[in-house]
């Protein structure tokens, strides 16, 4: 891993841990940014971990750019084995795959898609070698996902599939971005899944929709009262396919403000995960559903 440092103007440092995506790169990014946050360097105003990189915004009137750069390089050297464990949580995210709302939207923007003759799910299943939409959905919901970045717009999680690289789903983004995406669409682009936190433009393929709000600027939703954004980098997500009836039931609970997402604490170890990924993922599933 050759870490690359670059200034973004006179008030950002941009650090690319690795040019390609990997869990190793993400863990290093998370570990370094956690150290930066703890050290409370005066003049640092934003600390942003991303998939395989991170970014620091600073006030150059308070800390000299080259001094900050030296500090960050020191953190890189010390980001060793302690950064391979993570006290985090596993979150159950119910998904109505192949739902009518994303279907309506994807038909509306069909001329911007690689394959106008089918749906986004048809296309993603085919180019990833699945013989049916059902087996593709099984793969998407079968393994857990790491939230490796939150952003683009407020509260949107980027998620990375926790399987061997040769089993990872990959799909290109739309040829030209849509001007509309339903709120809470479960999307996919490159090797990342995402959940659109707000309605708006988007270029990711659309697979389904979750009834579970993940961003609430009014902070009226019970589990978003303390903070308006639900996800944090480092969270683990497990998608659960649901039918239309269950979707409506959850939606009713959201409306009466009684919906509570299922969340369990989890002590994640990258090395244990690498030693047997499938078994480790089953452990994650049990931690979430075992009670």
């Amino acid at each position: 891993m050759s870490v690359r440092y670059s200034f973004g103007g006179d008030d950002h440092v941009f650090v690319e841990i690795e040019e390609q995506m990997s869990l190793e790169a993400f863990f290093k990014s998370l570990s370094i940014t956690n150290s930066v946050r703890e050290s409370q360097i005066s003049g640092v105003t934003e600390i942003c971990p991303a998939n395989a990189s991170y970014q620091i915004k600073f006030n150059p009137d308070i800390i000299k750019p080259e001094d900050l750069l030296l500090e960050l390089k020191r953190f890189e050297q010390h980001a060793g084995s302690s950064g391979r464990r993570l006290k985090t949580r596993v979150v159950d995210v119910p998904v109505l795959y192949n739902d009518p709302w994303t279907h309506e939207t994807l038909m509306r923007f069909r001329e911007r898609h690689q394959d106008p003759s089918g749906t986004d799910l048809d296309y993603a299943a085919r180019i990833n070698g699945y013989d049916s939409i059902d087996s593709f959905i099984e793969a998407h919901s079968g393994s857990p996902w790491f939230v490796t970045m939150v952003g683009f717009v407020a509260g949107l999680p980027f998620m990375y599939q926790m399987v061997d690289r040769d089993r990872q789903i990959e799909v290109p983004k739309y040829l030209r971005p849509r001007t509309d995406t339903p709120k809470l669409t479960v999307g996919y682009g490159g090797c990342f899944s995402c959940i659109y936190s707000v309605r708006g433009a988007g270029g990711y393929q659309m697979f389904g929709i979750t009834p579970m709000p993940i961003y609430d600027p009014d902070q009226g939703i019970s589990y978003l009262k303390e903070f308006m954004v639900f996800f944090n980098p480092g969270d683990i997500v497990k998608f659960r396919p649901i039918d239309r009836e269950t979707y409506e039931e959850y939606l009713g609970q959201v409306e009466s403000n009684t919906y509570e997402p299922k969340i369990r604490d989890f002590d994640f170890s990258l090395d244990d995960f690498y030693s047997d990924r499938d078994q480790y993922n089953r452990n994650i599933g049990e931690a979430l559903n075992g009670d």
Partner: protein, 324 residues
């Protein structure tokens, strides 16, 4: 109530100096695009520099005051009128209960900052009153103003005077063509040397897609990329990267055709390469660019960027001395 919005202009929103600290969750800093102008507008009427005012783009609002107040308008050259009578920009003036504030045509620049005595009183959300419309956050219900909206101001005991003014040499607006200073970096190495040189040699035009999220430019040569093997997780287009953070002011060029400089309501990250970043002292100037305006990007290094930032700080300090 202190102010009733009768006409809202094109996109008028409540802004202050922004909401730092939440960019890692996709919540951008927001705040006035021309922060210098917002600070000066507040200083002119004895407000705190961080008080909330209005930012109006291309076309001003029409506002009826229900209480006596003081106002200052800075930034673009778009003269205010009180009951139809012209007032100067970059100057404080009084307005009486029952009078209406409106605006003349835009002559130069793009955005005015309107400071009102005491500052606009909306709830402080995550440390700021700034409006972030994409996330429906801050300001008035997280949106641009509409006709019929009523605004309150914070009561203030500070003394305001009429006729405080800032001379022309202490104001800032872009020239024509606009010169925007950029530090090459980030994924600059993705460009061929020839293409990188041409980017700074070309004259670009501001596109119509220019808003608080970012400014798009057109008319320069398409960029040429260095050959590569696609990194895992990046898209197949040569302009794609593994989704990363985007610095404020960073210039991304999707498919290598039209550069976009991100601004205060930036999308916080994504999968397009960036060739460099507008230096902090010139971010305010981008907020004053009109569509179709000729723009040159000027390559600078860190030393020049820090010097330019120092000059801007000096300018602001002169205004503070003058008005305090």
């Amino acid at each position: 109530m202190a102010i009733r919005i009768k006409e809202s202009g094109l996109a008028t929103s409540i802004q202050d100096l922004g909401r730092p600290g939440y960019y890692h969750l996709g919540i951008p800093i927001s705040g006035a695009m021309d922060r210098f102008a917002m600070r000066v507008a507040n200083l002119l009427i004895g407000n705190n520099e961080s008080d909330a005012g209005l930012e109006a783009v291309f076309m001003g609002p029409v506002m009826e005051f229900t209480e006596d107040s003081f106002v200052a308008v800075t930034g673009a050259e778009m003269q205010p009128r009180v009951d139809g009578e012209l007032r100067e920009t970059w100057a404080s003036f009084a307005i009486k209960a029952g009078q209406t504030l409106s605006f003349d045509f835009l002559k130069q620049g793009a955005r005015v900052c309107i400071a009102i005595k005491g500052g606009i009183d909306v709830p402080v959300v995550l440390g700021s009153r700034a409006t972030y419309t994409l996330g429906a956050l801050g300001g008035l219900e997280g949106r641009a103003l509409r006709p019929g909206d009523a605004l309150q101001t914070v009561s203030s005991s500070t003394k305001s005077v009429e006729g405080a003014t800032v001379p022309a040499d202490l104001r800032r607006l872009p020239g024509n063509p606009a010169q925007i200073r950029v530090m090459p970096g980030l994924y600059w190495h993705r460009l061929t040397e020839e293409s990188g040189t041409r980017f700074f040699g070309d004259t670009w035009k501001v596109a119509t897609e220019a808003d608080r999220i970012g400014y798009r430019f057109q008319g320069g040569n398409p960029l040429q990329f260095v050959e590569r093997e696609q990194p895992f997780g990046a898209g197949s287009d040569p302009s794609n990267i593994v989704d990363s953070c985007y610095p404020y002011g960073s210039i991304q060029v999707p498919s290598g055709t039209e550069p976009i400089a991100l601004h205060r309501d930036a999308v916080s990250g994504g999968g397009y390469f960036m060739l460099g970043t507008v230096i902090s002292s010139d971010m305010d100037l981008i907020g004053q660019l009109q569509p179709n305006m000729d723009t040159r990007f000027v390559s600078v290094d860190m030393q020049e960027a820090i010097r330019a930032r120092g000059q801007r700080n000096t300018l602001l300090n002169k205004v503070r001395e003058l008005l305090n």
